[in-house]
């Protein structure tokens, strides 16, 4: 099964919510829509579901033009970020509802709902109402309703965003298995780059109503086509700074320069933007690392990682390292760039060398 968007544009009044977008999604693995809040993920999902109609362009499902077709007639299911269930129905009836509407026989409904509830560990809750469930169970009910329908297109709009950390991890591990071998195109919207990496498959990075890149997730991560994609696909945010290439060296700042090796060596001299993911900026220098003299502004400690925001030459940088590193806020500190992880972008933002 395939879902294809052809030159789809969505305008509301004078605002363009989705700029011309063409995309072809297949059923192999998850298709992740990655972008910050307001990037247009939900709008794109609504367009795919038929809840909104594109201003221009076509939507094809399995080659058939479904543009303008109502969501009821499309073969699609949808899970929202908020736990949306029918409050007046029991969990069983909630899961059964798409089958009831489709006039599936009672015995078949019992079998399929039972199976799905089993899969999502909801069997003991079947008689309860959604309001009597925990958040995780409510979202599992919503997922069960999407699974039981056996639709060709499953849209998951940040389904884990409102769950607490532990439940999120648990469900995230389960999700790819739940949808494997169902022959459905699965679209998963998220604002977290780590989620995209964990789910694998393909990723479309979105920014300001545009898809900046679409491809296999690791490729989009390692070789972002442009600075925008790299910015979307980095958490903590990627460090970007203007550099100049002269005489085979990259100059970042007074006395901060390194020799241009790898792909950038072949590029002509001139101005570039360097993108360095925070985990390539660490407080410990390795072989050939470039020293930055910074002043620590903010630190964040998680159990296994230390993140420091520091100021260097009027620009805020982010460093991320394993282990707990004792930073002192306000104090000067040396940081080191592992230049093998540098991405170079041209004046137009396009990737020059990775």
């Amino acid at each position: 099964m395939t879902l294809e968007l052809k030159n789809v544009v969505k305008r509301v009044g004078a605002e363009t919510h989705i700029h011309e977008t063409s995309l072809r999604l297949a059923e192999t693995g998850f298709n992740v829509l990655l972008g910050a809040t307001g990037a247009g993920k939900t709008t794109l999902i609504k367009l795919m579901a038929g809840l909104e109609q594109p201003t221009s362009g076509q939507i094809l499902f399995n080659g058939e033009d479904v543009t303008g077709m109502s969501p009821q007639r499309r073969n699609v299911s949808l899970v929202h970020q908020f736990f949306i269930n029918y409050p007046n129905m029991t969990v069983f009836e909630n899961i059964a509802s798409p089958l009831r509407v489709a006039r599936v026989s009672a015995a078949e409904i019992r079998r399929r709902v039972g199976e799905t509830a089993d899969l999502l560990k909801l069997t003991p809750m079947l008689g309860r109402r959604p309001s009597e469930l925990s958040g995780g169970q409510q979202q599992r009910t919503a997922l069960a309703r999407a699974i039981v329908k056996d639709s060709g297109l499953v849209l998951l709009d940040e389904p884990l965003a409102n769950l607490d950390y532990k439940l999120r991890e648990e469900l995230r591990d389960q999700l790819p298995q739940l949808f494997a071998d169902r022959g459905a195109v699965v679209v998963y919207a998220t604002s977290e780059p780590s989620e995209a990496l964990l789910l694998g498959g393909h990723t479309a990075t979105m920014s300001k109503g545009r898809i900046t890149q679409f491809g296999e997730t690791p490729v989009a991560y390692r070789q972002p086509r442009n600075l925008e994609t790299a910015e979307v696909f980095s958490d903590p945010p990627i460090n970007a700074a203007p550099v100049a290439k002269r005489d085979g060296r990259i100059h970042l700042d007074e006395g901060v320069d390194w020799s241009a090796t790898g792909a950038i060596a072949g590029a002509p001299d001139g101005d570039y933007t360097v993108g360095v993911r925070p985990h390539f900026v660490t407080p410990h220098g390795g072989e050939g690392a470039v020293r930055l003299k910074g002043r620590v502004l903010v630190t964040e400690l998680s159990g296994s990682e230390s993140v420091a925001h520091f100021d260097m030459g009027g620009r805020t940088w982010v460093a991320q390292s394993h282990g707990v590193h004792p930073y002192q806020v306000g104090a000067g500190h040396d940081f080191f760039i592992d230049t093998s992880g540098c991405l170079y972008f041209g004046a137009d933002g396009a990737l020059v060398a990775a």
């Binding site: 809840l51 009821q72 949808l78 929202h80 949306i84 029918y86 409050p87 007046n88 798409p98 329908k149």
Partner: protein
């Protein structure tokens, strides 16, 4: 001072209940005893007043008429307000906010303003002295109220619920009746309650628009000055019976009203 404070609520309740007690008290007295002197309880306890009301059609038909037009009004108001409130809560259209406010302003005018035009209009179309006439007249201020209450409840339901239902295959009517209305049943209960109450206590329009066939109980009560003088006992009994439907309805929707207050719309 400290000694008095615990009695304050008791005192308040006492004053609150006093007129109702006095009404009840009078309803069990004969008119002669009421006019004869002051007594805290009926000396000659009688059920005659109530007996008269339940046997004399001019009396009990007042209740029947009132209940008929109140029921019609509640049904019309809620039925008309449901789709209107849905539109206000779900769609943005030209002038929606102004229209919403304008609807509410209908409640601000005293009913007396509308008495004359209604009287003239209904006489012209031969609706005068019918239940539907009163029910429609009351809809003038009940529909805006119901729209306003229901819009609050509906806006509390996320739009994603509608979308989920459409994606699941529900048609709009099926979604509206099977999922949406049960979801906001508290709101429907509260709206129906207020329509019922306002229609039940409204006297001026009901009296102006009826003569015999659809005469409401409140109008019957104002015409008790008979050739035998005022029948105060009868009047008191009728008053007691008038309180009952309201109390009955309040009992059933009390939890919903609390919810309505929590949502900030009542």
């Amino acid at each position: 001072m400290r000694r008095i404070i615990p009695f304050a609520p008791a005192l308040y309740i006492l004053f609150l209940m006093l007129p109702i007690y006095w009404l009840l008290n009078m309803s069990f007295k004969t008119t002669n005893e009421i006019l004869g002197g002051f007594s805290l309880w009926p000396n000659e306890f009688t059920l005659d007043n109530y007996r008269t009301i339940f046997t004399d059609p001019t009396w009990y038909m007042g209740y029947v008429n009132s209940l008929i037009y109140v029921s019609i009004n509640t049904t019309i108001s809620v039925a008309a307000a449901l789709p209107a409130a849905y539109a206000f809560s779900r769609y943005r259209f030209l002038g929606d906010k102004h229209l919403f406010f304008w609807l509410l302003t209908n409640r601000m005018a005293p009913p007396a303003v509308f008495a004359l035009p209604f009287f003239q209009l209904y006489s012209a179309v031969e609706l005068f002295d019918t239940h539907i006439a009163v029910a429609l007249a009351h809809a003038l201020f009940n529909i805006p109220l119901a729209v306003w209450i229901l819009e609050g409840f509906m806006s509390g339901v996320p739009k994603e619920l509608d979308e989920t239902a459409y994606v699941d295959g529900y048609s709009f009517p099926r979604f509206f009746f099977r999922i949406f209305m049960p979801t906001i049943k508290a709101g429907i209960g509260v709206a129906a309650f207020f329509c019922f109450m306002f229609s039940w206590v409204e006297l001026l329009l009901a009296k102006t628009l009826t003569a015999v066939e659809a005469k409401p109980i409140a109008a019957t009560m104002t015409k008790t000055a008979s050739s035998a003088g005022y029948e105060l006992g009868l009047l008191a009994a009728a008053g007691c019976l008038t309180i009952i439907p309201g109390a009955f309805v309040i009992y059933f929707v009390r939890n919903y009203i609390a919810k309505g207050f929590a949502l900030g719309r009542v």
